[in-house]
């Protein structure tokens, strides 16, 4: 019997989140079961979902599309998602998912501590990056005595 491809748990300690940990790519039946289980969790009220990808040894096209579909459900129900991935390729996967789902509130971080920290604030990913760039650029330009 193969190990389960994911776990889905409700964390009640603050901040309250649904934690989805993926361990391997999913079959079609497993994808459908996960979609139903997540829908049941996020449909009732806007919910934060923490998606852990660290245990994934690899991913395939189906998993990419599965994550995109799940992200769209979370967005549609007014929830928000934070993805935890400890290596670049998986962070790229998560960034691709939230970009394609057009969810500007979702976030990608490198560890659970950073995810927990992010959950305490309200953040608009793209706007925050733009504002952060312009303000850091302004500070450095001023320090260097530059003009434009």
């Amino acid at each position: 019997m193969s190990a389960p491809p994911y776990t889905l748990t409700r964390q009640v300690d603050p901040p309250p989140v649904i934690r989805l940990e993926l361990m391997r790519p999913l079959s079609e039946a497993e994808t459908a079961a996960l979609a139903d289980a997540l829908e049941a969790e996020v449909a009732a009220a806007p919910t934060t979902v923490l998606v852990e990808l660290n245990a994934l040894p690899r991913y395939d096209r189906r998993l990419r599309q599965t994550l995109l579909a799940l992200q769209r459900r979370i967005t549609a129900h007014g929830g928000r998602a934070v993805y935890v991935a400890d290596r670049p390729r998986l962070r790229g996967l998560a960034l691709w998912v939230v970009h394609m789902a057009e969810d500007s509130q979702a976030k990608i971080v490198g560890n659970v501590a950073a995810a927990t920290e992010w959950l305490r604030i309200s953040d608009h990913r793209v706007a925050a990056a733009e504002e952060g760039t312009l303000s850091a650029l302004g500070r450095l330009t001023k320090r260097r005595g530059g003009g434009s």
């Binding site: 390729r89 691709w96 057009e102 990056a129 650029l137």
Partner: protein, 225 residues
């Protein structure tokens, strides 16, 4: 994000995209495959705000850290975020500058970029220390390690960190659009993301030196055709 992906570019955006592609070609010598996605995501005004700011950031980083060092910091910032296109393209740019100025081939080859793309953060620092152990790479190693450390939550301290933090937040913005190309990339197919890419003679000398290095490392390599 300006509007639904299912809606195509408007006529004015298509016209603007042709202009943008032409400007890219003149500046870099090629058209990056991310321009259309950037216009779709940010809109035309947003695109110009994005590209103008990015240009200023790159100049600020080059002035503050050095030309090659800034490219490598940007490359690792992009790579950490998961954009292989930004990662490979800017690491290539740093490599090319060091080859031009010092005649060296850094250990950051295409194979190594590919490997680092898969390397968990907890092992990346050790691997980078191995790769960049020669004294000539001490400053580059220190800068690149800070990319990982700042991303892991370290507090910025010192002037270099301010520049690295700028690269990180700016590439948060940049990779929002480049990720459409950056997920399934092979480093060897990504050109150096610098105006130096127009210097084909330099790029050919660099490619020949890399090929010779590969044959030296593995004499069987040259037989593969």
């Amino acid at each position: 994000m300006s509007r639904r992906r299912s809606v195509g570019l408007r006529l004015a955006e298509r016209v603007a995209l042709r202009l943008i592609d032409g400007m890219s070609k003149a500046f870099l010598g090629f058209v990056p495959p991310v321009n259309e996605e950037a216009v779709r995501t940010l809109g035309v005004r947003g695109y110009f705000r994005w590209s103008t700011s990015t240009g200023k950031v790159m100049k600020t980083l080059a002035d503050g850290l050095g030309e090659a060092e800034s490219q490598l910091v940007i490359g690792f910032a992009g790579l950490w975020l998961g954009c292989g296109y930004c990662g490979a393209g800017h690491i290539h740019a740093g490599n090319l500058i060091l080859f031009r100025d010092e005649g060296v081939l850094t250990p950051l080859s295409d194979e190594v970029i590919d490997e680092l793309y898969e390397t968990p953060d907890e092992r990346a620092e050790g691997r980078l220390r191995e790769l960049l152990s020669e004294p000539r790479y001490a400053r580059i190693l220190a800068l690149v390690l800070r990319v990982y450390q700042l991303r892991a939550g370290a507090e910025p301290s010192g002037a270099d960190d301010d520049y690295i933090a700028l690269a990180l937040t700016c590439w948060d913005w940049v990779t929002e659009c480049t990720i459409v190309e950056g997920l399934e990339m092979r480093p060897a197919t990504v050109p150096p993301l610098t105006p130096l890419a127009k210097n084909m003679a330099l790029r050919e000398r660099y490619a020949a030196a890399r090929a010779a290095e590969a044959v030296e490392r593995d004499p069987g390599e040259g037989d593969a055709g």
